[in-house]
Symmetry: C2
């Protein structure tokens, strides 16, 4: 097993998967820097992403490997992939193909803001909340 020093300062990929065999992946838009989505990868998804240069994930709800865009065509081409200090999270900068990354029909999954510094009562505020595609038309093809 790698030491903390090796994990943090080494050049060997030593991903630290959680109890479910997953690491967190953050995908940002290479053009805007916006976070598009946060999802998870298992070892196979990580390997396929590295090999193909396109984003693969593992769906926790469906318990299945999943290529981003396999249904929608909204593939993510990975421009750069980075791993964090303790190797339990990856960050991919992607070219998002098509109108968006979010299954609700939006460019990004992060389309609502939480007001901060204004007390305890919270009402979410939509930001860039307009749908850029019709999720029913894209996902319900059967």
């Amino acid at each position: 097993m790698a030491s903390a020093e090796q994990v943090e300062e080494g050049r060997a990929l030593a991903p630290k998967f959680d109890a479910d065999g997953l690491i967190t992946c953050v995908a940002t838009d290479v053009a805007t820097g916006d976070v598009l989505m946060v999802a998870h990868m298992n070892a196979e998804a990580l390997q396929k992403t590295i090999e193909t240069g396109e984003a693969w994930y593992f769906s926790r709800s469906r318990r299945a490997l999943w290529k981003k865009g396999e249904t929608s065509g909204h593939v993510q081409r990975v421009v750069e992939m980075r791993i964090d200090c303790d190797q339990d999270a990856v960050w991919i900068r992607v070219e998002q193909q098509g109108p968006g990354a979010c299954h609700t029909g939006r460019r990004s999954c992060f389309y609502r803001a939480i007001p901060v510094g204004k007390g305890r009562a919270v009402t979410l505020e939509f930001r860039d909340g307009e749908k850029t595609f019709d999720p029913k038309a894209v996902y319900d093809k059967s």
Copy 2:
């Protein structure tokens, strides 16, 4: 319990904490768009971040609430906070105080790249890997 429609399209904050009571938080640098760190918040950390406008987290290893910068002084001022479609992840755009966010002494935790599209053998490549502060001097104050 909120329906998927309410969670995804509503204005009510309904964070979906995991079995350990945590949600994932991605912090990006408001100036550069770079991902600084990925960490976790429990309900209290989320509430304190919303109330104070500064980032609070929950340390899984120390099982403790943790204000970012409480030891180092490297506080994160939250410029904007967003939550994702299914409300199990938050994204904060922050002004990072001091020289960096990473406990290894770097601006970002994501200082190594994984080459993609070049086959199975992986050697990490340092990017922006120079230390911007001495972590021993900053964290070992006792």
